[in-house]
């Protein structure tokens, strides 16, 4: 990895100046490891960085330290047993993964969840998106020395994770969706609680915005750093905030509306420069847009069931299981053999926190998936990391890496 470089040019500097002489000393490239166990390497990713002085000559990301064999494990689990695995893909916004996976399966089954479930999926999904963005920005600030930003971000995220745990019973291991609906309805008073905590979340977001967006140091370290143009970002397969920071208006929620996003009034914030600062700024703006969606969703939340009444796909109510042979048989079949998803294949795609989250599922008609593939939005973006950081100073590495928000769980599956 090391190459020797000797400057053979005739010296033109003052030979009496010891510092000037030093610059002409022969030097070589230095290869260092960043990670896999480094606090700034979110998840567990290793970067082999080759430095030419303080400039990054080459960077090679290496994944696999968090590989769990999600896709293969899915083939040995019933369709519903895959759900807990999806929690662990993007573990900062697990509900978005739950929704993305189950919508792909629902496409195969040809079922649609009831309106209340659709609204709740949207609301909980946007809460998860805010959590994801807050986490990204909080860690971003922390790693540039802005500890206050981290504390504000995590305070806001805690408020939302409390709401998530009231809704699903868990902060991150939610496993909340089911084919044709949800595992559980929102508890009484949940909407009011969300409406109560959202102003504080937005207030903290404003504080972070005020602390960072026009901060001289922050701008110096992010503006014009890690620039990627819209066309090139598309070529790399960028989606989500990183693509929109480069000015490309693509958001699955707008381009191919699903659930009830077509009934929601929200905007897609776009960056202009495609640099690290824009990737940060787009996320701040998206938090505010998500808050709008949450408010509208809760206002329009219709009454009714949260899961379909089709026992081929949805569990019978417990009363039926305990008191009727029909219910106990359906229950038995669901748990012993799994939902028989019709033969075929489907690609379900939703807007995850980091971009287009796609699930390609294939069924051979049995209770377990024949094949599951996940298109993790973080994977193509991480692939472009060398392109983003090569040529920059070593100090720019961390801000750039923070701004793409790599999540080990989904990238390594």
């Amino acid at each position: 990895m090391t190459e020797s470089r000797v400057d053979s040019r005739q010296s033109t500097v003052d030979s009496q100046d010891p510092f000037a002489r030093e610059a002409e000393l022969p030097h070589s490239l230095v290869t260092i490891n960043l990670g896999p166990s480094h606090p700034a390497m979110h998840g567990v990713v290793r970067l082999t960085v080759t430095l030419d002085g303080e400039t990054i000559a080459r960077a090679v990301p290496e994944i696999g330290f968090l590989h769990r064999g999600f896709e293969k494990s899915s083939e040995n689990s019933t369709w519903h047993q895959v759900l807990p695995y999806t929690d662990r893909l993007n573990y900062v916004s697990p509900i978005l993964n739950n929704v993305g996976y189950i919508m792909a399966v629902e496409k195969l089954c040809g079922v649609k969840d009831p309106p209340r479930s659709q609204y709740l999926r949207v609301v909980a999904g946007e809460i998860s998106r805010i959590c994801d963005h807050l986490t990204c920005i909080a860690a971003f600030g922390l790693e540039l020395g802005a500890f206050t930003v981290f504390l504000y971000g995590v305070e806001a995220r805690e408020l939302l994770w409390d709401r998530i745990s009231e809704l699903t019973g868990a902060r991150v291991t939610t496993s909340w969706t089911r084919i044709g609906g949800l595992a559980s309805d929102a508890p009484p008073g949940w909407a009011e609680k969300v409406n109560e905590c959202m102003p504080r979340v937005l207030e903290l977001t404003d504080e972070i915005d005020a602390l960072l967006t026009r901060n001289r140091i922050f701008i110096d370290r992010t503006r014009g750093i890690g620039v990627i143009g819209g066309d090139e970002a598309l070529d790399w397969g960028f989606t989500g905030p990183c693509l929109r920071a480069s000015g490309v208006n693509y958001d699955v929620r707008k381009a191919h509306p699903y659930l009830v996003y077509d009934k929601m009034d929200f905007e897609v914030p776009l960056g202009q420069r495609g640099d690290t600062h824009d990737r940060y700024w787009v996320r701040i703006q998206e938090i505010r847009q998500s808050a709008r969606i949450i408010e509208q969703g809760l206002a329009a939340l219709p009454p009714g069931p949260v899961i379909i009444d089709d026992w081929r796909y949805a569990l019978p109510p417990k009363k039926e299981v305990y008191s009727s042979i029909e219910g106990v048989m359906a229950h038995f079949k669901h748990f012993m053999e799994g939902v028989k998803v019709p033969r075929g294949e489907a690609y379900g795609y939703t807007e995850g926190a980091n971009g287009e989250l796609g699930f390609h599922v294939i069924s051979n008609g049995q209770g377990k998936p024949y094949r599951v593939h996940v298109r993790a939005p973080g994977f193509p973006i991480l692939s472009a990391l060398p392109r983003l950081i090569e040529g920059h100073m070593v100090a720019d590495l961390i801000p750039i890496f923070d701004s793409i928000n790599m999540i080990g769980g989904e990238v390594e599956q």
Partner: protein, 533 residues
């Protein structure tokens, strides 16, 4: 996408060959079938499953359950039973029209009106047609608000079968089986309407030797095997093909086990051996795997390690090599492989006296039960001949090597006795624990000379027990002989080299359904015993 086609129901019988071909249509797809097929069998030929409870390919048609009703081009506006209606040239059958689906749903609802909420405590759970068809054809909540009819829940119909009348859907498969296959009409339908149930005649329990088959063909959990009941959930069991050790018929079976415990036998189809049935005695043979086993080598009541035991056996046999008065005993319970390596050991020891014994004969019949209660007498006799030894009696042997000791009467002046057996052998100097035939790869030859494969169905080890031929090979090794017998295939090859009946046969080449050794075929056959084609 080329995905494997998995039909929704597992056929109990492969479609028979077509003798008189006709062409018809099922769900718009052309079918070539036999003129004797009914609509269910015709549709099965192209993988279309018409659901049924009461129909059974080997029993007469009852038309009892109404689940197989389909539409045909000859019965517009009317549904006909697929089990009763014969295939016909040019007939168009529809198996999934709205009317057919509605009938299937309605029939399932009727069948479940009085069905108890028993899945959690029912042995049939997991292999129950009601469960399968409910999810496939009904999947709706109950609409019944009245209480269910209560009936007897644990009627012991006989030594093997217990009956739960509430679970029964009155398909009458069991009644027809007893009438037509077992030919002992011991069951009948009594009472009428939703009070009808299956019963025996007063004073005559269901004691036929084939009564266990009624449990197998019962599509629901009404008839259950008393031996298997409440011992395991069926989905925990590993299913492996093998051959029954109960008698010389060699019925093909599925042996179900978990860990080193065997739970039950189910008949496996072989048209030339046992059709799709087996007897009740055969269903109890798995107890020999679980009970009364010798697990560790023993010498005079003292447990030994395997190597010490082999050395001790070799030490006491070595001085006797080539001396007169040494005999070899082979039980007809041995696999061919065990017999072959035991005979090899006997020949290296210079033994010329071989006796073949076995369990005492018992009752037989003209169908599947043979009087010879050993599974491999023909094979062991063939092996002895192949090694040039004519079976006789033990005489007054002073030293004895026994491969399994069933039926062994030890000679009075026995001084040295090495036994390889699955259970303890009283009076033996050294006993080496031999695994059960259900725990071994190997071969048996049945009463009419059919060579059939055994598989290692119970896989987890039990103590130091290994196939008997392994012990014989170890003793050979300790005596300084270097015969290479690493697996059952090589043990079989030892025999195949020497036995003219097995010329050209290889262990791996034995087909699933077995192969007939023509020179062993008997001259007389019991009247109904299945024969090779």
């Amino acid at each position: 996408m080329n995905l494997p086609v998995i039909p929704s129901g597992t056929p109990q019988v492969e479609p028979p060959p077509i003798t008189k071909a006709i062409k018809m249509e099922v769900d718009g797809r052309p079918v070539e079938c036999d003129a004797r097929d009914n609509l269910i069998e015709a549709a099965r030929r192209i993988g279309v499953h018409i659901p049924y409870f009461c129909y059974h390919p080997r029993l007469s048609v009852a038309g009892q359950c109404r689940m197989c009703l389909v539409e045909t081009s000859e019965s517009a506006g009317r549904l006909v039973p697929g089990c009763q209606v014969r295939a016909k040239e040019g007939l168009k059958v529809t198996t999934s029209s709205p009317a057919v689906r509605e009938n299937q749903r309605g029939i399932m609802e009727f069948h479940l009106i009085n069905h108890p909420v028993d899945c959690a405590i029912c042995d049939q759970s997991g292999e129950c047609k009601l469960q399968d068809y409910y999810m496939e054809y009904d999947h709706q909540a109950t609409r019944i608000r009245t209480s269910k009819v209560q009936k007897p829940k644990r009627e012991e119909l006989g030594p093997v079968v217990v009956y739960d009348a509430e679970r029964c859907i009155m398909c009458t498969r069991c009644v027809r089986f007893m009438d037509e296959i077992a030919r002992e009409p011991q069951l009948a339908v009594v009472n009428r309407g939703d009070h009808s149930l299956i019963a025996t005649f007063p004073g005559h329990p269901l004691d036929s030797t084939y009564s266990g088959n009624t449990v197998d063909i019962c599509p629901v959990g009404a008839l259950l095997n008393r031996d298997f009941r409440f011992t395991s959930r069926v989905w925990y069991l590993n299913k492996s093909p093998t051959v029954c050790t109960g008698c010389a018929n060699g019925c093909n079976i599925w042996l179900e086990s978990r860990g080193n415990v065997a739970y039950r036998e189910l008949p496996r189809r072989n048209e030339e051996v046992n059709h799709v049935w087996m007897c009740d005695a055969g269903r109890a043979t798995h107890h020999e795997v679980n009970e009364g086993r010798l697990e560790w080598p023993q010498a005079a009541g003292e447990a030994l390690g395997a190597e010490v035991a082999v050395k001790r056996a070799a030490d006491i046999l070595k001085p006797l090599m080539g001396k007169p008065g040494v005999a070899l005993y082979l039980s007809a319970q041995c696999t061919n492989e065990e017999a072959a390596v035991a005979l090899l050991l006997g020949r290296e020891l210079g033994i010329s006296r071989v006796a073949i014994g076995g369990r005492p004969p018992g009752p037989g019949d003209d169908y599947l039960v043979r009087e010879d209660k050993d599974p491999n007498r023909r094979g062991v006799e063939m092996a002895a001949r192949a090694f040039g030894m004519e079976p006789g009696d033990l005489g007054d042997a002073k030293a004895l090597v026994a491969m399994r000791a069933d039926g062994l009467q030890a000679p009075p002046r026995l001084e040295v006795f090495v036994a390889i057996a699955p259970a303890d052998v009283p009076g033996a100097s050294v006993v080496l624990p031999c695994s059960h035939a259900y725990e071994q790869d190997g071969t048996f030859v049945n009463w009419y000379g059919r060579l059939q494969r055994l598989y290692r169905s119970v896989v987890a080890p039990r103590g130091d027990a290994v196939p008997g031929w392994v012990w014989a090979r170890r003793i050979l090794g300790a005596l300084g002989f270097t015969h290479e017998v690493r697996d059952a295939g090589q043990a079989f090859a030892l025999l195949a080299q020497r036995a003219p009946e097995l010329a050209g046969k290889t262990f791996q080449g034995i087909p699933d359904e077995g192969v007939v050794l023509p020179s062993l075929l008997p001259a007389e056959w019991p009247a109904r015993a299945p024969r090779p084609r």
